[in-house]
Amino acid sequence: MSALVELVDLSVTYAERGGKRRLKAVDGVSLSLARGGSAALVGESGSGKSTLARALAGLVEPEGGSLRFDGREVASLSPPERFALRRRVQLVFQDPFASLDPRLSVEELLGEPLEIHRVGDARARRARSFALLEAVGLSTQDIGRYPHEFSGGQRQRLAIARALALEPELLILDEPTSALDVSVQAQILNLLASLRERFGLAYLFITHDLSLVHQMCERVAVMYFGRVVEENDTAAFFREPLHPYSKALVALARRAADARALLVSAEAPSPFDLPAGCSFHPRCPRRAELGSRCVGERPALARLGRACAPSVACHLLDSERAR
């Protein structure tokens, strides 16, 4: 079975606001996501996670590379085909307070995507709204209420219901619980896990909290300044992260005693002035082992074996690569 989403060498560039500089927020990313699979995207703030998500959802135009959905090149689709594709990929954002139009009632919020895509008549849409409320654990009596009448957790349920309205195949969850309290976060994560089982959804789960990755996803991709530096099976990743940057992230999340030694500097470079070669080299405790290679040559993301084997972008792992 082909992948649901396949990115090859995808890049997204922003022009600096009011300036002349350009910022490569996503820089040659190749990734694939299985139908019904769950993958996490992790990395420090500014590493390009949200931009990648927006490119996947068709909200920003990639500058280069290929984005295939269900085997078809998205750039080559006709406008109506692209419009139809939007149904199949939905986004849920971090901030449920900002992502729901406060002027719309629950019924309007849930009915709007259906209306835009001309799905069903008013009666069918209302029935669908009831079913959605039930699916996300809200009461059907909430149908006439407005977003401000709900708590943060309920609002995120509402945002999820809205994202599910068009029966998407892929849900992109961009920090969906980072504005919520731990107690409520657990409710939302549990809900997301059961919705995935129930509707056979694929998830791209963006987070800076590695403990959620462990809980929610089968695969994990680590981003560093626009590039994926490691892609791995989640369990294997937490057992033994392979890229030096991944090792640091996992140790920091574990509050391991040696976490400090795994990053030469806590400080990340400026995205406008990225280091040459491997952009992680000024912070990498292992670059000395390779002489000047890390400064002079950028490591490509390469798979360390067949099919489900991990991929890593680091010169240290050259010797382990499959020929």
Binding site: D181, A193, S211, Q215, A259, L263
Partner: protein, 342 residues
């Protein structure tokens, strides 16, 4: 040595939905060199407590109804604004969390640091700049003399955060109030901030009040913890005792609900049902009862006090400063004892 003692603090906000008591019957002590944490869901009154210690409640539109905050033999709440302003930054300082909001974009870092020292320590501009460079160096900013001349936007995000910490620490305050100091930070920078706070405690005996909703962080860094729910402390204990052997069902539930990095991947997390209490419409009796598995009729009627555990045979109160506000705490504590024995 006790640095700070908060007694019976009660803070009211008047809102369009009616009055609410963001903090009620709150008491705690901060010893020299210690980190005391306030934890709880959003809206539980943590930041309001921090504001009260800094004398800033009136500026947020609140009213301190009762309470005393003792520092250096004086009740801070009886000070006038001028006296309080002198204490702020020099003796009791806030560790800001948002660098972009707290630094003045039009002034160089050096000027902003030096001003604190001129005002609070009466140094000349020259002396103040020398001290400021030292403060920047102390927080790990390379080449501090030249960075004095930088404007905030010329520093990287991590450096800005450190400059801000340097500003909190430059006058060597005895009490540091850190309200979610690492929430917005990447993990490596967060760790440096925590290292800095630790150093202030160990080297100068500063006390830190850490406000956080991150239980793992609190578990790993604080000495003592006060768990707040709906404006009240519902449990207080040493950090390791609290999480490993909670007495209050809410503490136990919060600790269970967190996602974990280590160990088996579980199918589902142990969520706490319901939503945090609405302060303008507080439940009767124990404010946690609508979400509590152990709630009884008594819990719906009566509000439990913060008290120690009683030993069934003697009716005597056990153990040191540990307290919880729950009618069923013997059961909760016992449940742990049983699991431990099993």
């Amino acid at each position: 040595m006790t640095l700070l003692q908060v007694d019976n603090l009660r803070v009211r906000y008047d809102t369009p939905r009616g009055p609410l008591w963001a903090v009620d019957q709150l008491s705690f002590k901060l010893e020299s060199g210690e980190m005391v944490a306030l934890v709880g869901e959003s809206g539980s009154g943590k930041s309001t407590t921090a504001l009260a210690i800094l004398g800033l409640v009136p500026y947020s539109g609140g009213v301190v109804e009762t309470g005393e905050i003792w520092y250096g033999g004086r009740n801070l709440l009886a000070l006038d604004e001028r006296e309080f302003r002198k204490l702020r930054a020099s003796e009791i300082a806030l560790v800001f969390q948002d660098a972009s909001a707290a630094l003045n974009p039009f002034l160089t870092i050096g000027v902003q640091l030096a001003e604190v020292l001129e005002v609070h320590r009466g140094l000349s501009r020259r002396e103040a700049l020398t001290e400021s460079a030292r403060a920047l160096g102390d927080v790990g900013i390379p080449d501090p003399e030249s960075r004095l001349h930088a404007y905030p936007h010329e520093l990287s995000g991590g450096q800005r955060q450190r400059a801000l910490i340097a500003m909190s620490l430059v006058a060597k305050p005895k009490v540091l109030i850190a309200d979610e100091p690492t929430t917005a930070l990447d993990p490596a920078v967060a760790l440096t901030v925590l290292d800095l706070l630790k150093r202030e405690r160990e080297e100068r005996g500063a006390g830190v009040v850490l406000v956080s909703h991150d239980l793992e962080l609190v578990h790993a860094t604080a000495n003592r913890v006060h768990v707040m729910y709906a404006g009240r402390v519902i449990e207080q204990a040493d950090a390791h005792e609290l999480f490993e052997h909670p007495w209050h069902p809410y503490t136990a539930a919060l600790w269970r609900a967190r996602a974990r990095l280590g160990g088996e991947r579980r199918h589902r997390l142990a969520a706490v049902p319901g939503a945090p209490a609405e302060l303008t419409a507080l439940p009767t009796g124990c404010a946690f009862h609508p979400r509590c598995e152990l709630a009884t009729d008594r819990c719906r009627r009566e509000r439990p006090d913060l008290s120690g555990l009683r030993r069934a045979e003697t009716g005597m109160s056990l153990s040191s400063g540990r307290r919880a506000a729950c009618f069923e705490k013997e059961r909760v504590a016992g449940a742990h004892a049983e699991t431990l024995e099993a």
